[in-house]
């Protein structure tokens, strides 16, 4: 197994494990405030130290992982669930008015600075994790629609697709039975990349106060709260940031590793 794939699996696995474990057990109670223990540096009792309210940072990171992963995962689901069918339709009816409308609609969403629209959506419907999911999800739709259409087009020209047509299969059946399985690899890789971008976006939205609301711990808001304390206790700002970097890095490496593993043409080319 390639190094990037192994490292990616390890880091992503750690984040998922931390989130999963937090449902059953955390070293400390994230709802329990202990002001006397505030801003303690990492020690044997608190491995990653405590925050400005005396909560155990490791526990906060574990529970925060849930928010990050849930938001990013559902946002990828929205992007794939709507983007892939749109891309398949656009490819199946290439150069028709339907294709033109779908692709120009995609261009339009791309033209909007994603963060501005995310802020507009969360501002319109109130800041919450759900609205963060919708905002990030909307921007995943054109990404998946484009990559689906782009990878489906060359497959439509292949002989076995022509054979399927001659055999009387319709565009929908061909898309589902022959096109989709052939582009699944590409979609999985893109999904991993969008997942990592989703985690970054969620952290950014939470940082400006538009993501998950208190008391739900989230990595982005931990950073926002740590900002004024960075010179007193750097660990409160460094720990959540590292959690984000390692998770995003893990997903990116996983995406790269999967691409190399799933696409035999790329093997040995690097």
């Amino acid at each position: 197994m390639r190094l990037s794939l192994a490292l990616g699996l390890l880091l992503t696995g750690l984040a998922v494990l931390a989130a999963g474990l937090s449902f059953l057990w955390t070293p400390g109670d994230v709802t329990q405030l202990a002001i006397a223990d505030k801003l303690l540096p990492p020690s044997g009792e608190h491995w990653l130290g405590t925050d400005q309210l005396g909560r155990d940072m490791l526990s906060m990171i574990m529970v925060g992982a849930r928010t990050s992963i849930a938001v990013a995962l559902v946002a990828v689901g929205i992007g794939m669930g709507l983007g892939v069918p749109l891309g398949l339709i656009a490819a199946a009816f290439q150069r028709s008015w339907l294709d033109e409308i779908i692709m120009r609609g995609n261009d339009l969403i791309f033209a909007f600075p994603s963060l501005v629209i995310a802020i507009l959506i969360t501002a319109a419907f109130g800041p919450s994790a759900v609205n963060a999911i919708i905002a990030i999800g909307i921007f995943n739709i054109p990404v998946f629609a484009r990559i689906t259409r782009g990878s489906a087009l060359p497959i439509w020209t292949l002989d076995y697709i022509r054979a399927a047509r001659v055999a009387g299969k319709g565009a929908a059946r061909i898309s589902l039975q022959h096109i989709l399985p052939n582009i699944a690899n590409i979609l999985i890789v893109q999904g991993t990349i969008q997942f990592s971008l989703g985690i970054l976006a969620e952290a950014g939205l939470s940082y400006v106060g538009l993501g998950a609301q208190p008391p739900t711990p989230s990595w982005g808001r931990m950073l926002a709260e740590a900002q004024t304390m960075i010179s007193l206790a750097p660990h409160v700002a460094i720990v959540p940031g590292l959690a984000i970097v390692l998770t995003v890095l893990g997903l990116n490496l996983l995406g790269d590793g999967l691409r190399d593993a799933l696409d035999p043409r790329l093997r040995g080319s690097r």
Partner: protein
């Protein structure tokens, strides 16, 4: 070429029109009536109704859109509820921070990415390539606002070389530039990492082409072939990414502007939303989106300049 230009111009006009409708409609959806928000919770219903009429809020949506877009085309984006100044002037004022910041970050990003991407491509598959691309992988994973906080911790709090935030205005150009250095670096580094990766893979692909082999065969070194032949041909994906990055840097600076308390366009939008100053939101987002669409258009034209084959299509 003329047909290409005409087609692009039509798409440009349509995109701008649809985008303006979309912006108008999204802002329409924001709950909370600006009139009652401005007057506070204790206001009489008659006062609210009078203000709504004065602000034109009682007119039908289509008419309000027509008024808004018509005025916007003449450079009038209306009057801010909270600042009591014309929105256009407010945006111009904030662009004096956002535009230089975006340009600085873009130049930094290119200055970092170009040598790194070329270095990695020239050493494709060897230790230097792996090392540099590993570093780029980490750069891509950095949330820019966290990186900004670390920069503040090191260069403002510990070393005291640069200010931790705020903007003194262009009256003092040196101090103004100094206050933009850390935000620009924070914005540029993750972007540079993306750009370096794109440049590397484009160069590696180009270096495998027959004409590079020919160039090598007539005696050019690998480095010469890369600089003289491969670089120009690898520029198309790089220009695409650059165009996307400029719009990202202009708009995506919202969070960075928050970290450094910079009075830029992003912060203006963010504050206007919390203050329900919708006319500012509409105007600022319109300017931003129009800028992005224009940059995309220019990038399309740049393709034609870089790759003559596209002009014929």
């Amino acid at each position: 070429m003329q047909r290409y230009l005409l087609h692009r111009l039509i798409v440009l006009g349509l995109s701008l029109a649809v985008a303006s409708v979309a912006i108008f409609m999204v802002v329409e959806l924001v709950p909370g009536d600006p009139a009652s928000y401005m007057l506070g919770t204790g206001a009489q219903p008659e006062t609210v109704a009078a203000l709504r009429q004065q602000m034109g809020l009682d007119q039908p949506v289509a008419l309000r859109y027509a008024h808004w877009i018509g005025a916007a085309l003449t450079g009038d984006l209306g009057q801010s509820f909270t600042y009591k100044t014309p929105v256009a002037a407010l945006i111009l004022d904030r662009l004096q921070v956002s535009l230089p910041l975006a340009l600085m970050a873009l130049m930094l990003s290119v200055a970092i990415a170009l040598p790194i991407g070329m270095f990695a491509a020239a050493r494709n598959g060897r230790a230097g390539d792996t090392l540099v691309m590993g570093a780029a992988q980490i750069g891509i994973s950095l949330p820019n606002f966290w990186f900004a906080m670390l920069l503040v911790l090191l260069f403002a709090v510990r070393l005291r070389w640069l200010p931790a935030g705020g903007f003194p205005g262009w009256g003092n150009p040196l101090a103004a530039l100094k206050s933009l250095i850390l935000p620009a670096v924070a914005l540029a580094l993750p972007q540079a990492a993306i750009l370096a990766r794109v440049l590397r893979s484009a160069l590696v692909e180009t270096l495998g082409q027959d004409y590079i082999r020919t160039a090598r065969a007539k005696g050019l070194s690998r480095g010469q072939a890369l600089r003289l032949h491969a670089l120009r041909n690898a520029l198309i994906p790089v220009v695409t990414i650059l165009g996307m990055q400029f719009s990202f840097l202009l708009a995506g600076a919202i969070i960075i502007e928050n970290v450094f308390y910079l009075p830029g366009l992003g912060r203006l939008i963010f504050q206007a939303i919390t203050q329900r100053d919708l006319i500012v939101v509409q105007g600022a987002v319109l300017v931003l989106v129009a800028a992005v669409i224009l940059v995309t258009f220019l990038v399309d034209l740049a393709y034609a300049a870089i790759d003559p084959r596209l002009r014929l299509k």
